[in-house]
Symmetry: C2
Subunit: 259 residues, 2 copies
């Protein structure tokens, strides 16, 4: 059986030169036709930011005849997806993958993550999407180990099709291949960042702050992404963008709103 190769859009939030996205591009080139549109500089923790009060630039990086077409973009990860779909492709790709992020996007990190926001944006636009992250902030982290798992997860997603309005948040533990126990479907653990700002003083005598913080897992469940990662599994959380807390609507309807 011969099938047309899928068209795969690749983006990230660490910038187009990051080893994480280069590893992702290498895997995707084995599976389909690849278009890369990624930020021209790091855009970590940009959440679902879009650029509405500033201009956007696209720069074609690849040359005529290159196997993979690549653009760097001056905007956020979400801008990259919007420009790729609406300006470069003028159609929907078969899949959008984002990452591999240098660092975790498990549990509450999904909310702050530019990597996952790019995947969510693709999902909103009706494109199957996966965000990949490795629990290693090192620029020279070992992405080779996780390549076969990225390939497997991508192929399963292409073969089965994602549930409607759902994208995948995949996190890899920082382990050798033989120590990874497998892939687990999880829910997002309840966790917070306990913030500790570092207050400093400029040479001119003005106070300023650096955001710092400590990750605190508040969730003892064994069905969470934090549990899976701590127990040597790859975590896969299905993520939705209907943020309605449907379970609370009945309770809120008992309030005296219109008296």
């Amino acid at each position: 059986m011969s099938k047309k190769k899928p068209l795969i859009l690749v983006t990230n939030d660490d910038g187009i030169t990051a080893p994480g996205v280069r590893a992702l591009i290498a895997v995707m080139a084995e599976i389909g036709d690849v278009l890369v549109v990624a930020p021209d500089k790091p855009q970590s923790a940009m959440g679902h930011a879009i650029t509405i009060n500033n201009t956007l630039y696209l720069n074609k990086i690849s040359k005529e005849g290159d196997a993979i077409t690549e653009y760097s973009c001056s905007g956020t990860p979400v801008d990259c997806v919007k420009l790729a779909v609406n300006e470069i492709l003028k159609k929907k790709p078969d899949l959008c993958v984002s990452g591999v992020n240098h660092g975790s996007n498990s549990s509450i990190n999904v909310i702050y993550s530019g990597t996952m926001s790019a995947a969510v944006e693709a999902g909103i636009e009706g494109i199957p999407a996966i965000g990949f992250s490795l629990l290693d902030y090192d620029w020279n982290a070992d992405f080779d180990t996780i390549k076969p798992f990225i390939k497997k997860i991508t192929q399963e997603t292409l073969a089965n099709g994602l549930p409607k309005d759902v994208v995948l948040n995949v996190n890899f533990p920082k382990l050798k291949k033989e120590d990874i126990k497998g892939i687990k479907i999880c829910r997002q653990a309840k966790a917070i960042w306990s913030e500790k700002f570092h207050k400093r003083i400029t040479p001119q005598g003005k106070d300023y702050y650096w955001l710092a913080g400590e990750f605190v897992n508040l969730d003892q469940g064994q069905d969470t992404d934090e549990w899976a990662l701590a127990n040597d599994y790859i975590s896969v959380v299905p993520v939705q963008f209907d943020l309605t807390a449907h379970h609370s609507i009945q309770q809120l309807n008992t309030w005296k709103w219109n008296e």
Copy 2:
């Protein structure tokens, strides 16, 4: 019965001088003790962005003896909440309100909205929170009309307490008071922005883009925020930050992940 006045944190994403936040501050001053920490410049569409690769500045705007303490902040709406709670107050306020946004944050806009991200951040930190938005982008929009409704919704929230891990997304139609039919609890409508980038050329001959687009409501339900607003109601959507698509976990567990 005399009760201690609640401590209310006010922020927004249009910047501390925006008429929307000034209206919100005026209403909150009638209800509790108010601390304002808001961006020093517009931060619309910043989503849940936080500032991790740059310095943050707080500038105290109010003077000693002023009834309301106000700080402008160089960061995003989410940075404002984090700095207010962890550096200025060093404790949790009783409530965080964000807005009033100049323009809609209904349906999918909740994902892109700095106003709502500030409220969600407060919710993550365990603080009851409400985001308010008016369907009027005009800088000189009529915020007086909605003040009694803001007061009512805030008082109901303080009296009842919000469901756990839920914040409210409140949107007001652009109507005269006598034309507003009341307050409706809703779910988030399924909608998208259909993007049309405007391509232009710099004086130096380089292509650039402006993000533009058209809002498309894909949802015919009469229980949505879009329906409520189109039918002259104020919409209140309970918003959660557990993004897990719990309903899809069973289906994903049928895939061949570990073969």
